[in-house]
Symmetry: C2
Subunit: 215 residues, 2 copies
């Protein structure tokens, strides 16, 4: 099975590297990191990862995957990327994303009528595309997502084996990784700090939704 | 503060990319990915990450970090890497690792007399170097480690803010990420599957310990 994972500038690399770590432990899966060129792709903080295939040279995905991150906003109006995703999705068995990657799938028209999720700051924007925003467990944690997917594909036994091989036993030092569990002041402060960027993201989402002729 | 993170062929990339994601959110920290050359470094499954600095060109670390992975065994007898780590550690405030990265620090003589931890399959090997093996929480989870370190450096408030910004709220689909919580049959089966490689790792650890004149 071919797993096609989109790389892009200013992505959140952990959204991609987490699932990569899990999925590449399964021999049945061939992972491809795809972008427009084969040049190194910098994440939002500058970590540079090399693609394995271009969009044009990518195999047909059985599993299509889009990570999140601030760079997602340019993809939402990028005709080449959107048509690549539509083409790939039409032949894929699973169309997946982590964090704000779902907004890119939504902009490609792939989530219309589906339940979908997103980073808490941007969750509401999914509705512009006719998707049904839900806040569920396998949301922004790429590792949890990938183990769940692996269990769907290969059964719980093998997913558990990968989890033990990775010694994946997360125990965050602090409570408060979600807006529901964090202190309201902290949630408000992060909203405030991200307000300008979220305004831009919102505007792009509305334009992309209009382009889809849904909004 | 300079954070010097060692890249190396056949590392477990998530050991590095997890902490990178957390630490690069703190403006006070400058992250450096260092290896012998500036060529792309492939992890154990082939994901290629670009270094930012060579060993020779690396700044002095305030925080020194070594990820784990199968490639660690060649580092344990690599004089250039071991002397780099010793030189860096002598000026660093924190000397850190995830997973089997600790065995490399041990081979450099940096853990002798200290409590240290490691991936469950290799934990016992730390004792060859005069380290005290402990199985503790911030062990193989690079993300949890980095949030704990960030709290030490910048206070709990800012660490919690980073955690919420990342929406880091892991909820593994399955129990059993440690040998204590997994079914004994699964633990035995993984030990069996890794026996040949663990034998090699063990032999290298014994040689490296002998070279340190401790064993």
């Amino acid at each position: 099975m071919q797993v096609v994972m989109l790389l892009y500038p200013r992505m959140t690399q952990l959204d991609l590297t987490g699932p990569y770590e899990v999925l590449d432990r399964f021999e049945e899966l061939n992972l491809h990191l795809v972008w427009k060129t084969l040049d190194p792709v910098p994440d939002v903080y500058g970590l540079r990862i090399l693609p394995t295939d271009t969009l044009a040279g990518s195999p047909q995905a059985d599993i299509l995957f889009v990570p999140g991150g601030p760079g997602q906003i340019s993809l939402m109006e990028d005709k080449d990327v959107l048509s690549f995703l539509r083409r790939q999705a039409s032949g894929a068995r699973y169309v997946t994303s982590v964090c704000t990657g779902s907004l890119v799938l939504a902009a490609a028209g792939l989530l219309t009528g589906y339940r979908a999720t997103c980073h808490w700051l941007s969750l509401g924007q999914l509705a512009y595309f006719g998707a049904v925003p839900v806040s569920e467990r396998v949301v922004t944690s790429g590792i949890d997502f990938a183990l769940t997917l692996a269990a769907c594909l290969f059964g719980e036994g093998r997913a558990k084996r990968a989890q033990l091989a990775m010694e994946y036993d997360p125990k965050p030092a602090f409570v408060g990784g979600t807006p529901a569990s964090a202190k309201p002041e902290l949630v408000a402060s992060l909203r405030e700090a991200n307000a300008a960027f979220q305004k831009e993201r919102e505007a792009v989402a509305r334009r992309a939704a209009a382009a889809l002729q849904i909004a």
